[in-house]
Amino acid sequence: MAKASATIEIARRWANPQSAKFVVGGAIILAAFAYLLFTATSSSLVFYHTIDEVIAQGIPVGERIRVAGAIDKDSIEWDAERDTLAFTLFNPDNPSQRIFIIYRGLVPDTFWTSPHVIMEGEYTPGQSFVADAMSVQCPSKYVRAEIQ
């Protein structure tokens, strides 16, 4: 009984021209949100690939991707003058899968100690991966080596 009268009450409020204004206003705001979210999402998608996917699928030249892997510490060459970092990223599960990375940009302090890194960039016609963004597990990364 109470439920039924509540439903009637709600129906009456909806029919009220005053509330209609708020409903329309709310709908416009919602639509604006949806549009904003949709356009922003579709324009900034970056696909995330593992190294074996990169090697198996072959990423088209010019497609922007993110790739994560382990850093081959012996391969690191840093040309501070030209601000270019070159190193090999390998698949920790299958170390024979490797990609060569060229990175231009700020090298975070943590890069030197981090075992892993996430690079964002694209393949160039010369077939090396040119990255312009690097994420390293951060300093506040509390957990490091565990004592065994």
Partner: protein
């Protein structure tokens, strides 16, 4: 020591569980003795957790490396301060620290309100104890900070040098106080739903707790940004990283909550909104902890993947579903006392404000979990990066700023268009004049121009509130202006404190717009005597200097800074620092150059310098940024603190009312929360 600590945690868990059950059953069945014993169990849990925290700190101080957590997070040659802060430097310890803060809040609330809100309080204590039990179960079964190693290592691994910094010592406790602090208003809201006492009583009881938690959240977010800016040396303060976003989300819903409750107190409306917002805020705070600890979203901040991820997810699901069920049960009783009368009313502006904050929350949450969603739905991992967040948040935050300005102007209930236009005239003119001046100064990017002139518009609205109020008082009472202003604020601290917070937010917004739109960057490799140019500064490299002590080696690039007229401004010294504990991890020490003689370095822009590399041949690779208005963000945060303090400070009138008759109390003593 380790065993004692673990026993304390186990007993705390038992106490918290008992407290929850006793308070709940006692109140349901009307058995005051049971409630009283539940209350004592809350205190017992608080005491036991305090003991556990002290034991762990003590273990750090005496280098008890048999405890795994101590061995992994400290070493023999760390300064005492950082030995103490190691308590929250790692996973298990920070969980203990979090739980301890929660138990202190529970204890404080249970004690301070022992004689008030008899219908609500047992439920509040019960809800806080349930929340606490969850964390204690994690500590006992999944993340024991007192776990012992099978052997005793000679020395520990030490704390990451990047964390050995005052900012990093303060930042986590600060954020935790905010995260955990929102538990209090949430618990009161749940108590209101459980007891059916749905009047504004719970809101009034928690106003200061909410402000306090909100203040800590605000500080946590800004201090985190400042630490990143000063310490990490990449020239920015916010990277839209999932963990940073997660700390921002409860701030957004918390801010909406703070505003929404004003409408309930004034007009008895938006009651369901308040409940929804505080439920979201609490769960987003827990979600923040979950993101940081589960490693589910790739973040530069997260702890490595740990086993407690699923436990957190289960807890969020439980608390979210439980809270929402309680809310639906009382839905009918939460109808507003009034209906919205007009679109042009303060009520509608507050409602719009709620929608916008919720929209911002959803957008950022969406971007944050997008990789997980896309992987679950389409099987491919896709991320959206900083461009997404910038693109969605800029229009939403602009709309929030405009709503802020309009909301302060518009009257309660309804306002005619003609009177609104009249009151808009002044502030809008100020905004237009600002736009013209900025245009002439060379600020020509449309978003920056729009954003900054909106800041001026909102600033003008806010300042006029103070000006008109002061003027009216002065005319009425003849008080000098300074006295009139002070009394104006004292008469309605929540309102004017809020306006002061608004001023801080406007300042910070201008800082964000300026630094995002007009950052400049330059890089050069310089030999001694060579120079580089950036944004009207000339930097001449004068070689390196080196500093060495038993802990570290510091290599500084000495740069003479000149302005564009060739006047010498001073010396900048960006550096690389090598801690001998971690020789493989050099630390970049950025220099933010300031010169008294060059006001723009103090107020308008940061000349931010990084030594990228020092070559053995004596050349320096340098990167320089001009970051306009970054200072304004930090100044805005300070004003925000001041405003929150004004809003939360006990009011003179209130203090008089609360003093019990016959109980002499020294004049000016603050009322308790």
């Amino acid at each position: 020591m380790a065993d004692l600590g673990y026993i304390a945690i186990v007993l705390a868990m038992a106490s918290a569980l008992y407290a929850a059950a006793a308070c709940l059953w006692g109140q349901r069945r009307g058995e005051p003795q049971l409630v009283a014993s539940g209350r004592n169990a809350v205190f017992a849990a608080g005491g036991l957790l305090t003991l556990a925290v002290l034991l762990l700190v003590y273990s750090f101080l005496v280098h008890d490396f048999q405890i795994r957590y101590v061995a992994e997070n400290s070493s023999r040659h760390m300064p005492t301060l950082y030995l103490i802060t190691s308590l929250w430097g790692g996973h298990a310890g920070s969980l203990l620290f979090w739980t301890w803060i929660l138990s202190m809040f529970a204890t404080a609330v249970t004690y301070l309100y022992r004689d008030r809100h008899p219908a609500l309080l047992p439920y509040t204590s019960a809800v806080l104890s349930i929340a606490q039990s969850f964390f204690l179960i994690l500590l006992v079964f999944l993340a024991n900070p007192f776990e012992k190693l099978p052997f005793i290592p000679g020395d520990g691994l030490g704390l990451n040098p990047l964390l050995q910094n005052l900012g990093m010592a303060i930042h986590p406790p600060n954020l935790y106080l905010g995260y955990v602090g929102v538990s209090v208003p949430w618990a009161f809201a749940m108590a209101a739903l459980l007891s059916g006492k749905l009047d504004a009583g719970w809101i009034r009881a928690t106003r200061r707790w909410t402000l306090l938690a909100w203040l800590f959240l605000s500080l946590g977010v800004t201090l985190g940004g400042q630490w990143a800016y000063v310490e990490l040396g990449w020239g920015g303060y916010w990277g839209w990283d999932p963990v940073e976003n997660s700390s921002f989300l409860p701030w957004l819903t918390g801010t909406a909550f703070l505003h929404s409750v004003i409408v309930t107190e004034r007009r008895g409306m938006l009651k369901v909104w308040n409940m929804l917002l505080i439920i979201l805020t609490y769960n987003l705070a827990i979600f923040g902890a979950f993101v940081t600890r589960s490693g589910i979203i790739d973040s530069v901040h997260s702890f490595t993947e740990s086993s407690i991820g699923p436990a957190f997810l289960a807890y969020i699901a439980l608390s979210l579903i439980g809270s929402l069920l309680l809310l639906f049960r009382r839905w009918d009783q939460l109808r507003g006392d009034h209906q919205l009368e007009a679109i042009l009313s303060k009520e509608a502006a507050f409602l719009l404000n709620n929608l916008l904050f919720l929209g911002a929350t959803f957008a950022i949450f969406w971007g944050n979990i997008f990789p997980i969603l896309s992987e679950a739905v389409r099987g491919v991992k896709v991320t959206v990066g900083a461009p997404f967040f910038n693109q969605v948040s800029a229009p939403i935050f602009l709309a929030i700023l405009i709503t802020m300005g309009l909301g302060m102007l518009i009257a309660w209930r309804r306002q005619t268009i003609s009177s609104l236009v009249r009151s808009l005239r002044g502030p809008v003119s100020a905004g237009i004049v600002a736009a013209i001046v900025l245009w002439l100064m060379g600020v020509r990017l449309p978003p920056a121009l729009l954003g900054l002139s909106t800041c001026v518009f909102v600033g003008a609205v806010t300042v006029r509130e103070f000006y008109q109020g002061t003027l009216a008082r002065h005319r009425l009472t003849g008080e000098p202006y300074s006295v009139a202003l002070r009394k104006l604020i004292a008469r309605n601290q929540p309102r004017y404190g809020g306006y002061i917070v608004h001023l801080g937010v406007i300042l910070a917004a201008a800082g964000i717009i300026g630094s995002q739109a007009y950052q400049q960057e330059a890089q050069a490799v310089l030999g001694p005597g060579q120079a580089m140019q950036i944004g009207g500064y000339r930097l001449v490299f004068q070689g390196f200097s080196e500093l060495r002590n038993e802990n570290l080696q510091l290599i500084r690039a000495n740069l003479d800074v000149y302005n564009d007229q060739g006047r010498y401004l001073g010396r900048a010294e960006p550096a690389k620092e090598l801690h001998f504990v971690r020789p493989d991890q050099p630390m970049t020490e950025a220099d933010i150059f300031r010169a008294i003689g060059e006001p723009r370095t103090l107020f308008l822009e940061d000349l931010y310098l990084i030594l990228v590399a020092a070559s053995p041949e004596g050349t320096a690779t340098l990167r320089a940024f001009i970051n306009p208005l970054v200072n304004w963000i930090w100044m805005g945060a300070l004003i925000l603190i001041a405003g929150t303090a004004v809003a939360a400070w006990p009011e003179a009138s209130e203090a008089r009312v609360r003093v019990p008759r016959g109980a002499p109390q020294p004049a000016g003593s603050p009322t308790r929360f």
